[in-house]
Point group: C2
Chain length 356, copies 2
DNA sequence: GTGAAAGCGCTAACAT
DNA sequence: ATGTTAGCGCTTTCAC
């Protein structure tokens, strides 16, 4: 455990001032002669600038924070891989936190990042806007991905309007009229949920299905809204059920749905954990896929192909989304970044059949 | 974006010196009166000590680094969740890196962590001991998990002896005789691969299987060694094949195996990515599981139950391993931590049948 | 083009 | 018990 060389060591060994070393290393002005000498000495001493000193001086830690609900949800793992890939190529560290979908843990993690002076953050949010207020107030550059924080319950506008606005936002038709007292929307990276769900529902309807259920989880508001829209007026509310995010509750929701409404003929799972639950619950109840029930799952994950039959899915580019989010949060040098919406794709495999 | 209060602000507002504030906040000695006042003022100013100052002063960043090959490998995701859970309860940040199983990327990430002065590191290593030398020399506390770094090719002892030593180490029978010039083993958290593989092989043999193949990946040396041992003398070398870590190469390996040796009746996949590949390849070649070929997969992952039939697996406690690794790396206050080996469990589901 | 010097926010001697 | 002070390694004016 030898002590590392500091900038001062390099300066002395090169016979220059520390300022010069700093300049050379960060591409500032210096005569070719000095530059070369400094570089040589630095290499010879195996000098690596300490991020500690720089961070304190600049009062900010480099790199970025990354908050996801659960890494064992394969979609978030793909997303994280995308973020890491971008960060790696930029040489920036990523501080990771897993929130378990719990706003309180999320708030704690935000606090931890604040304490570390991490001022760039990518998040798949679990808490509502109130949870995120501290981060924004502290001047963090926040990029949301996969979904946006819910509006706090106390807000004065009605949910219906919110859903409509979100949908319009997605299609890029219009920005939601920003109420004067609301902060401007933060940049985000979303999949085009509306189109994805719509395509899936149309596909199912084309196969003759009329009683289509939606199995959702936390943060799937935009997806449900799109589902309602695609299915068209009066939606059978019993066919829209939610889990709380855990695998257990997803299973319970799926199982309950199948048992309470044996007349349904197709289900759209709002995420891969819910799709997993649906397959399990169906098997447990001796429902054959797709003979007895057709299934479309949001998220394409490697194991979707392993099922028998392989699962028809709405694929969203998880890795790309992560990469883009990291680009946004890095590039936005103070400027407010533009949001991006990436396309989804319906991948037809074997889990949907004609209604019978 | 208001500027945060510093320790100096608190000191002034409370009418004390900065040292007193520091002491109070880190549980040092102080009169109840002062303590209370300082605490009150700190709360009132919403003071949060900056990790930046502390880190520079102590010449080390708190928290820990975490290096895994690939988060979309569900086992590593589970492992990471364990690490994060422990870190969260300790309020420590985790800097994550994904190496893609590539020693070069691993080395770069180690360099990045060194630059950040992160001095605690948990890793599922991809590079050999040479790759890890810089980290160790720099005085990092490193805990390996899931596997140990391979010995560099230049080493003077033969592979057979290495394998034997590793096995003995696993069973706790004896420490491998440390060559005088070799550094002492670093602490690690491993699953009891030997017992896990042995149990699986015995189970398959009990079902009448004689031509059992092993489908391995990088870092599976201990598992192969255990496989060879469990199968017994002269192992049919064609039945031991390897992928390089990617899903594609795993698939190629599995497919090649099935095609070149149609006489095999069972396969042990050394990890979940390989198990996935085996299922895919078998289906593609119209091999029925378990009628035509029995399959045991290392790693229990949620989707193992989704397959038809559900996969029989050797479960290792991924999450626990992560938690334990984090405990080790945090607790070891300079002292060299003891390694831990956790038990595996054969979970019999439906992917193995009698030989026919 | 280059160097000297002033901190960034904190902790740990040391002094009182 | 508490205040004063000296840096930790770096970047960035500001003189020269």
């Amino acid at each position: 455990m030898e002590k590392r060389a500091t900038i001062k060591d390099v300066a002395e060994a090169a016979g220059v001032g520390v300022a010069t070393v700093s300049r050379v290393l960060s591409g500032g002005s210096a005569s070719p002669r000095t530059r070369e000498r400094v570089l040589a000495v630095a290499a010879q001493l195996d000098y690596r600038p300490s991020a500690l000193g720089r961070n304190l001086r600049q009062r900010r830690t480099g790199g970025m924070g990354l908050l996801v609900p659960d890494l064992t949800d394969t979609f978030y793992a793909q997303f994280a891989e995308g973020v890491l890939a971008c960060a790696r190529s930029a040489g920036e560290p990523v501080v990771l936190g897993s929130t378990g979908g719990d706003p309180e843990q999320e708030a704690e993690l935000i606090g931890m990042l604040l304490e570390q002076s991490v001022d760039r953050l990518i998040a798949v949010p679990s808490g509502d806007e109130d949870t995120w207020a501290p981060a924004v107030r502290a001047g963090m550059t926040v990029v949301f991905a996969d979904r946006l924080p819910a509006r706090p319950f106390s807000e004065d506008d009605d949910p219906a309007a919110t859903a409509v606005n979100d949908l319009m936002l997605l299609d890029g038709l219009a920005a939601p009229p920003p109420a004067a007292h609301r902060p401007p929307e933060l940049p985000s990276v979303l999949a085009d949920d509306r189109a994805g769900i719509r395509t899936a529902v149309r596909y199912l309807r084309g196969l003759g299905h009329r009683r289509i259920a939606f199995l959702g989880g936390p943060g799937h508001d935009r997806r449900v809204a799109a589902f309602r829209e695609a299915v068209g007026a009066p939606v059978d509310e019993e066919l829209v059920v939610f889990g709380t995010g855990s695998r257990d509750s997803a299973y319970a929701a799926a199982s309950g749905l199948f048992q309470s409404r044996p007349d349904l003929s197709a289900v759209v799972a709002g995420g891969n954990v819910l799709g997993e639950a649906a397959v399990l619950a169906a098997r447990e109840l001796d429902l054959r896929v797709p003979r007895d029930v057709s299934l479309v799952m949001y998220d394409d994950v490697p194991w979707a192909e392993l099922c028998s039959p392989p699962l028809t899915v709405i694929a969203q580019p998880g890795r790309d989304m992560g990469y883009r989010a990291a680009e946004l949060v890095l590039r936005s040098g103070g400027r407010r970044a533009r949001s991006v919406v990436l396309p989804t794709e319906l991948i037809i495999r074997g889990s949907c059949g004609p209604h019978r």
